[in-house]
Amino acid sequence: MSGHRIGVYVCNCGTNIAKTVKVDEVAEAMGKLDEVAIARSYKYMCSNPGQEMIVNDIKELKLDRVVVAACSPRMHEPTFRKALETAGLNPYFVEMANIREQCSWVHDDILEATEKAKALTHAAVARVAYNEPLEKRSVQMSPATLVLGGGIAGMTAALELADSDQTVYLIERKDVLGGNVARVDLTAPYLDSARDILSELITKTTRHSKINVMLGTELVHMGGFIGNFVCKVKDAEGDETELSVGSVVVCTGYKEFDASRIKQYGYGKFPDVITSFELETMIRKGRITKKDGTLPKYVSIIHCVGSRSEEFNTYCSRVCCMTALKYAHEIKSAIPSAYVDDLYIDMHAFGKGCEDFYRKSSEVKTMFLMYKKNSTPQVKLADPKKDDCSMLITVQEQLSGEEIEIPADLIVLMVGMEPREDSTDVAHLVNISRDKDGWFIESHPKLDPVATTTDGVFIAGACSSPKDIPDSVAQARAASARILARISMGEIWTDAVYAEIDEELCSGCRMCNDLCPYTAIEFDEEKKRSHVISAVCKACGACVAACPSGAIKARHFTDEQIYAQIEGVL
């Protein structure tokens, strides 16, 4: 062997590692290995003194490879790579052995844990000798952005970007901007006018010099990668336009649940059973009436239509509870003599101002009646001779334990939210995933809620899950902020670790093309060879394993490195 000078550093991690692993013994054993110039144990390797120790050793002992036996590389690999860079070594010359998560935290027996730690560290020592110097690369970032969908989220994202003087293409399938919010009269819980909110946004969006609003247009193809997407859009006449953008924001929204799927409500059968959106239309027209034009005396609002049920959608649609309370207020103010009943499963009043709104709805004498999940209320026609109402709702009321009958003249079904029918196509076009219900999946549900697994493609608003206006707007602005941050850097640094295809060996079988979960592999029709877009590749290794010709090599995960690691551990 070429004779490396390897430094091995065994971290105590306070007592996290040291209480189960005899760290000094590990260091001592490593010190006896060939090529290991120095082996030390230290309380906290990630601390500044710990890093300085490595830097000094590299300089003084002329180390050319470093092994840190400590925690998971997810946490501190960047820390130690930086330390190597400081000392003038290629950052990829450090290897970590995870003796915390994979050893001390999961074992009790000190002797056995120590032996395992030795094996893991030995593997790292064996591997590091084969590590190659790698360089990070950068690609240019196009400052233009494509926004899909002209609802409240799409317009907000577009305006946020355009106000920062960046070009935005806003494409909307319909001929108008506004999306679902345009179908709503007032908003809960403050009863602000949705129209006012929206008309201001629409005016700003359409007038903005940096926003190209393309109505009646849809995306038909997207190629390229972060910073360099090429999107083809098609307008109503069938004309295609090619747009070069650096980022894409998907704000395609939702569609409402089809209430006729629930037979018990008689939607479509009884004329005065209507959906929440039909009530909105009435309210916007200024008159809440039955089909025959008369005023309803009893109005029932039924929550969770299609939501939170085993049969339809198991999830909560989030906005219906407060919307229902809003209706209670709107109906009471339109028809003060009307009695409003609110049939709910649980009242979800979690947002700002919502609990107060719920209390106020009680105070205006809304009769709240609780029904049980999966036990749907039944609607039937009333006896016109006997009853003073046109319909009766039968339900097992939970808070009284009574089976009750509710008189009703107008029944409003709070239809839940569902992914749009075209969400499959959209997901495919922009290469993002959908969950079991069909909503787009975020990169991390908590820590990265607007990014997706495809770099440069963001999701905002109700296309990723049911959302209200404030949440949609927040997401739209969050996505814009992420994009603006990228644009401000001008170029994108990609990790030096990615797969490479040796064109000499590639047979052009295209097996890897469909296998890649990130669509990072392109096929060159002229050369009949596949090649990896390094900016998109996440180095998962799927293509490496699959290639029948052995033409694909994963940088930093070469066969020699892996074999050495295996031998080291044995």
Partner: protein, 389 residues
């Protein structure tokens, strides 16, 4: 059989003081806080629910309002300000009206003005009647206060008292029978068996005299004052019904009867003053809300107590004419108080409360408590049965 909800009942109960029940969202803190809430009478939440939904039949058959003594613990715990204590109070008023066969009670509770008017009318009638009797059949002279020649001889008042008591007892008894019919013989009442009625009969006098249940509230002062008021009243009642002749002798003091009289009067006065003061200051939860009928009752009681003391003092001072006039004013208070308040209003609870406790014991007996299933989350139960299959 499904029960129809009724949106109007809640409006009806507003007249009886249930202003805030709409705010209740059934967290159940009130029932958890109540020291009396025990199976099978878990209250006040369930009653609040029945009221919100307008289930009149359930409310009419409900004993729970009478099992509550309004310590106010529930209202203090309520996160929504739904005033469960006051709601129970209003339900007692409403039930009093429902039990009353004549409809007078409903009239009084729904309009304080009508009740005041009725009190005034009856007072004037009483005053005029007594003057007419005194000048035509009694002593004929306002300057004679005691003895057989008195303007209002005790023998005549005695007969008047007893006949009035008879009529009142009759009215109240009819209402009590109606209460029994609604609560014990309704759709959900227990099957009628005589033995439990005999077995628990002792509860009636015990609860009437000791009010021991009230004593279980965490606040002891209301119980003490209420007991003092009740015992003082009973003492006065016994003195007037059985010893009126000895009471009305004079001018020397018959200590055998008047010792009791003085103690009872002091008790009445203290209790009334504390109650009025409490309702003005509103520091305790049970005093925050006052219905018109509460004030009418207290003011009448104050007038009666003060004039009662007045006629006694004036009599001993030898001011017979003033004593006679004060006595007439006193009776002008007593008669409306007894005739209107006992069968038709606030005072009817003297019968309904002990009866409710008695009926509740019988109902509890009739319920055979089923053995409880172990509590399990629905999901776990499903998974469990699934894996077994």
């Amino acid at each position: 059989m499904a029960v129809r909800v009724n949106h109007k009942l809640i409006d009806e109960l507003e007249h009886y003081g249930a202003q805030d029940v709409v705010k209740c969202y059934h967290c159940g803190n009130c029932s958890a806080a109540c020291p009396f809430s025990k199976e099978p009478f878990i209250f006040p939440r369930r009653s609040m629910r029945h009221l919100q939904m307008g289930l009149e039949a359930r409310l009419k058959a409900n004993l729970e309002p009478w099992l509550c003594y309004y310590c106010g613990e529930c209202s203090e715990q309520c996160p929504r300000g739904a005033e469960p204590g006051e709601t129970m109070m209003s339900m007692r008023r409403w039930l009093t009206a429902k039990y009353d066969f004549s409809g007078i009670s409903r009239l009084f509770y729904r309009s304080g003005k009508i009740e005041v008017l009725a009190v005034f009318l009856l007072a004037i009638l009483t005053g005029l009647g007594l003057l007419w009797y005194g000048f035509n059949f009694g002593g004929k002279s306002l300057s004679v206060y005691h003895g057989d020649g008195a303007f209002l001889p005790s023998s005549a008042i005695h007969i008047f008292d007893w006949s009035m008591a008879g009529v009142l007892t009759l009215f109240l008894s009819i209402n009590c029978i109606r209460m029994w019919w609604f609560t014990m013989m309704g759709e959900r009442g227990p099957k009628f068996r005589l033995w439990p009625y005999i077995k628990h009969i002792f509860l009636l006098p015990i609860h009437f005299i000791t009010q021991k249940r009230y004593a279980q509230c965490s606040r002891k002062r209301p119980w003490f004052l209420h007991l003092m008021l009740m015992l003082s009243y009973v003492t006065m009642f016994v003195l007037i019904m059985f010893f009126l002749r000895d009471m009305q002798t004079g001018p020397e003091i018959d200590w055998n009867v008047h010792t009791f009289g003085y103690i009872a009067t002091a008790g009445l006065l203290i209790a009334v003053i504390f109650a009025i003061q409490g309702r003005i200051r509103k520091t305790e939860p049970y005093h925050v809300h006052s219905h018109e009928t509460d004030w009418i009752f207290l003011i009448l009681l104050l007038i009666i107590t003060v004039t009662g003391i007045g006629q006694h003092v004036l009599h001993r001072m030898g001011m017979y004419e003033a004593a006679n006039i004060t006595y007439i004013v006193h009776l002008m208070g007593v008669v409306p108080m007894l005739v209107l308040e006992v069968p038709f209003s606030k005072w009817a609870h003297l019968a309904y409360r002990p009866l409710a406790m008695y009926f509740a014991a019988i109902q509890t007996d009739a319920i055979t408590v089923p053995e409880k299933q172990p509590v399990m989350a629905p999901g776990t139960q499903l998974a469990f049965s699934g894996s077994r299959r």
